[in-house]
Amino acid sequence: MTYIAKPKFHHPGLRKNELGYTHRDYEGKISTLCAGCGHDSITASIIEACYELSIEPHRVAKISGIGCSSKTPDYFLGNSHGFNSVHGRMPSVLTGANLANRDLIYLGVSGDGDSASIGFGQFAHSIRRGVNMTYIVENNGVYGLTKGQFSATADRGSKSKKGVTNTDNAIDLVAIALQLGATFVARSFSGDKTQLVPLIAAAIRHKGASFIDVISPCIAFNNHAGSTKSFDYVREHNDAVNRLDVLVGREPISVDYAPGTVQVVEQHDGTRLALRKLDADYDPHDRLGAQTFLQKHAAKGQIVTGLLYVDPEAEDLHTHLDTVETPLNALDEKALCPGSAVLDKINASLR
């Protein structure tokens, strides 16, 4: 870790967003993670995405569990709400917070240990319920805080830093998220911000359960030959199916791609996702096709990245429960206690 605070000075020519903030205004405290940690690049990508979307920091709740990944919310959005919960319990805390106040933007930050082991069930249920959130897993395949044991996402056959081969099958969180009905599913790589930043931005604008699996090399324990989550391995085996541009507002799409290669997806809130196809056969609206595609490529040792599935007409938990538009935490006594006449009416209906 670094002992000095990051200097407050910034480049005099930094651009400002619609709110008059520079990207530096979206930073948090200085990272205490190991030098070169992939998680720090994900932090920088979240900062960039929130800056680009001109998000008001006080409208964001960032919630995490335990682990290296779950420390990162301290390093971005220093003026947002935060909850560092119990190990693996981020999804429950986030679900509860979301039910109480549907108006905030929910960022769930977790890791492969937090989501694929101790919090696996929590992860599954928050996705299955369609909680309106952006669920980011910073996936490095090892338990970094306890010195590099394999985690549940480590690929079978990959080697630890000490040379031990992993004999367990890996959990593919993207496959599980697809199966459980996530309405926005993506995978990316901490070393490729041009891909990651728009994915995070699109996920934040998506209404429903958005899940992003970000492969994030652990410099200290999982960046060696034999690892399948190292910088070199991911760069060599990265199979990006598409590239994304996020367009907020009504400005015309002026992306100069060859005709037929760009697919425009309009989300509920008007955000348009311009998807530049890199794999002509890949259809991000085909949940079943995505699952097959992923498994075929995984068998070949390839890591499929990009926007893998999106349902632009998605619904979220509040829609399913038919809750009121006003956040529950903002309902006043009058709304919550409509009086004895209403109570009598309800009681009568139950007799």
């Binding site: 870790m1 670094t2 002992y3 000095i4 605070a5 990051k6 200097p7 407050k8 000075f9 910034h10 480049h11 005099p12 020519g13 930094l14 530096r24 200085i30 990272s31 190991c34 030098a35 070169g36 940690c37 992939g38 720090d40 690049s41 932090t43 920088a44 901490s190 070393g191 911000k193 090399p217 410099i219 960046n223 910088f231 070199d232 760069r235």
Partner: protein, 511 residues
């Protein structure tokens, strides 16, 4: 772009904007760090070696370093480099033991015309090598215009006495009250070399035809000015011509004429071998300072017209080197390259030998003497100089630009850690291209094209690392966050070559 050659002595030198801008190339950040450590005598000696008159310059320098200072591009005001120099002079201990000893004479005699900063700088460099230096001046004491023209409330005599004394104490002979009236006569005395540092002694004439003084009953009541505009002829020379606007009268009781100084060489006879150009200036080589007479050198204001003390010192160093080479039988046009030292400042995992925590303080004001007292006594110095506490605060504002960010492409794994941590968005990893194109693709705008781009060789992904040196804080966070040591903070020290420097022709070394 081609990978940046950081072993070229000028590359990192330019990054140290203050040192690059200083005619004498004083290692500014190095002495400011010593001031912060309370090592005032050490800071003084670095200055003394480089600019000869730290106490005088710390009060009077026109400080080309300060407009160049990187801090001025990062926030509003540059570091008060000049006034920190004065701090070194004010708080030093007795440094007399650190000065060179008067050397055994080598039998060579140098005459120096004029006792100002240029001549004294030459004498300072040559006397320790055994040259017998004789300084002639019409005034009784050494210092030239530093003594005669700068008001005492800015530069007290005691400071001039002290610093000219250090030079005369090296065994330099000073002949005060002896104005040289004839170069021919001086040449006849068979000196091995003559240095002319006689300055620009003549007050410039104010010969403006359009000017009229208005008098009423013999009393001045104002001046009427004709409006003029500048026109440039085919050779780019400036001429002032009437603009046609109505005249302007400025009422006043008195008129002060302060339009500068100019050169005058009535004492140089036509047959001394010194050629003059059409502006009546001697033809002087701008690198070696030799005139058309190979034994006669010029420097300071006498060489190229009125400048200032720090330029006179820089000329003095170069002229002294030429004189030394000429007398040693070497080619004076062969100028040895400066020696460069680059060394890592890493002390531990997150520990550096310099203070990399950037101070957010604004520039500290120098305390002034109470106005009532200052106005009563014209000789009382107005600026009091920083006290120790203010000096420390100001010293901490220095960004340590001489501690360079050094990048090693083979070690880089392109993890982006440096990009993410850099507070100034200086670092970009991108595809290579021509400079103009690359400047468009940087993470932050690049408005100062005179500030270099540091470009690496090709990295594993085929991209290159590009660092815009412009507003780098030299905080070392890139190096702290680098997992492989591809970034390192290395202190760059450049030793300007003075007469008698050891290893004058040794190849320089850099990282």
């Amino acid at each position: 772009m081609k990978p940046t050659d950081i072993s070229a002595p000028d590359y990192f030198h330019k990054v140290v904007d203050c040192q690059w801008a200083c005619p004498a190339h004083t290692p500014v950040p190095e002495y400011i760090r010593l001031i912060a450590e309370g090592r005032y005598s050490d800071a003084y000696m670095i200055n003394w070696k480089s600019n000869v008159f730290p106490g005088i310059l710390g009060r009077t320098c026109d400080r080309p370093c300060e407009p160049a200072c990187r801090r001025g591009r990062v926030e509003d005001n540059p570091v008060a480099i000049c006034r920190l120099k004065r701090v070194a002079a004010d708080f030093k201990d007795d440094i007399s033991q650190r000065l060179p000893r008067p050397a055994a004479k080598n039998g060579k005699r140098i005459a120096l015309v004029g006792g100002g900063p240029a001549s004294l700088a030459v004498a300072r460099d040559l006397a320790p090598l055994g040259y017998h230096c004789t300084v002639f001046d019409g005034d009784p004491k050494a210092g030239g215009m530093m003594r005669s023209q700068i008001p005492k409330f800015r530069l007290p005599d005691s400071v001039i006495d002290e610093e000219t004394g250090y030079i005369l104490g090296l065994g330099v002979e000073f002949k005060g009250g002896q104005r040289i009236d004839s170069l021919k006569q001086l040449l006849a005395e068979n000196y091995d070399a003559i240095f002319v540092g006689s300055g620009a002694p003549r007050g410039r004439e104010l010969d403006i035809p359009g000017r009229t003084f208005k008098h009423v009953a013999g009393k001045l009541i104002g001046v009427t000015f004709q409006k003029v505009k500048a026109e440039y002829d085919a050779k780019g020379r400036r001429n002032l011509v009437p603009s046609g606007e109505p005249d302007e009268t400025v009422p006043c009781d008195d008129v002060l004429v302060a339009v500068g100084q100019e050169n005058a060489f009535p004492w140089i006879e036509a047959d001394c071998g010194i050629e003059f150009d059409k502006w009546h200036m001697p033809k002087v080589d701008p690198k070696t300072f030799v005139s058309t007479n190979p034994k006669v050198f010029f420097g300071g204001d006498a060489a190229f017209g009125p400048k200032n003390i720090i330029w006179a010192v820089a000329h003095g160093h170069d002229a002294a080197l030429s004189i030394h080479k000429m007398i040693s039988g070497e080619d004076i046009n062969e100028r040895p390259l400066p020696e460069v030292h680059v060394s890592s400042q890493k002390m531990g995992i997150h520990e550096w030998s310099y203070d990399n925590d950037i101070s957010a303080d604004k520039r500290f004001k120098v305390p002034h003497r109470d106005k009532v007292i200052a106005l009563k006594d014209i000789r009382a110095e107005v600026e009091l100089g920083y006290d120790v506490k203010l000096a420390l605060g100001e010293a901490q504002r220095c960004l340590n630009c001489d501690v360079q960010t050094v990048f090693s492409a083979p070690l880089c794994i392109e993890c982006d850690a440096c990009v993410d941590i850099c507070p100034m968005d200086c670092i970009t990893f991108t595809e290579n291209g021509e400079e103009d194109d690359l400047r468009q693709r940087l993470k932050a705008p690049s408005p100062h094209h005179d500030q270099a781009l540091y470009v690496s060789g090709d990295l594993k992904t085929g991209r290159v690392m590009v660092k815009d040196e412009d507003v780098c804080l030299h905080c070392g966070l890139c190096a702290e966050r680098c997992p492989t040591g591809a970034w390192d903070m290395q202190k760059y020290l450049i030793d300007m070559v003075h007469a008698g420097s050891t290893c004058q022709s040794k190849a320089r070394s850099a990282a």
